[in-house]
């Protein structure tokens, strides 16, 4: 994910667990707007560059 950052580091910076980051990566969980913005902020990219809507249903 964005070069060298680990899931654990990203999780700590966003304020969620590593499992939640794993779930988001695996499209098993759709984050709240707040968490989505925080992730985009960590990467220094706009929201739409990090998240794309595919139309498929994600499961919790």
């Amino acid at each position: 994910m964005a070069g060298e950052m680990t899931q654990k580091e990203l999780a700590e910076r966003v304020g969620v667990t590593r499992q939640t980051i794993m779930a988001i990566e695996a499209a098993k969980y759709s984050p709240s707007l707040e968490v989505a913005f925080k992730i985009a902020q960590v990467f220094g990219k706009p929201l739409e560059a990090v998240f794309q809507y595919s139309g498929s249903r994600t499961e919790l």
Partner: protein, 169 residues
């Protein structure tokens, strides 16, 4: 599979366990132990004991006592192995998973209570199978069983939901 490979698999499994998984696993084990204590007490009881309201009341007090003691031990264990994670609040996904677990637990509890109400109504009216209830105070045992089963369903559901995420991660 060699013992070295088995160790690797075990290490990978432990690495993938979150603190929440560990907490839920311990809660599940504690509830399982309480269920075992309750069920084994009923199985080993004499017919006189099962028919005694005093004995049943004492058993329920013991079940609550065992439950509290095991919960304290499990919380102490978690405090020992955690790195300050015990005090951290659940994140948004964990809260949602917890709600799903609570939903299924509530359904289980409601089904148990409905069954108990039906059993009681039939028993009082001398109808159907209720007259041949396998235990005295059967309605009470149904409700206690439903409560314990709901707890098991709650923890198991949350664990399964969390593990599904980890497996695909």
């Amino acid at each position: 599979m060699t013992s070295n490979e088995k160790l690797k698999v075990l290490k990978a499994l432990l690495d993938s366990l979150s603190f929440r998984d560990l907490t839920l696993t311990l809660d599940l084990l504690v509830t399982g132990a309480v269920v075992y204590f309750y069920a084994s007490s009923l199985v080993m009881a004499t017919a006189e004991q099962l028919a005694s309201g005093v004995w049943i009341s004492q058993l329920l007090v013991k079940v609550v006592g065992v439950s509290i003691a095991l919960s304290i031990v499990s919380q102490l264990l978690l405090e020992l192995v955690s790195d300050g994670e015990v005090d951290q609040p659940m994140d948004e996904r964990e809260k949602q998973v917890s709600l799903v677990g609570n939903k299924y637990a509530l359904w289980t509890l409601q089904a148990g209570v409905c069954f108990a109400i039906g059993q009681y109504a039939f028993e009082q009216n001398g109808m159907g199978f209720a007259e041949r209830a396998p235990l005295p105070f059967f309605t009470l045992h149904i409700m206690v069983g439903a409560f314990l089963l709901a707890e098991l369903v709650n923890y198991a559901t949350q664990l399964i939901r969390n593990r599904m995420v980890t497996r695909y991660g």
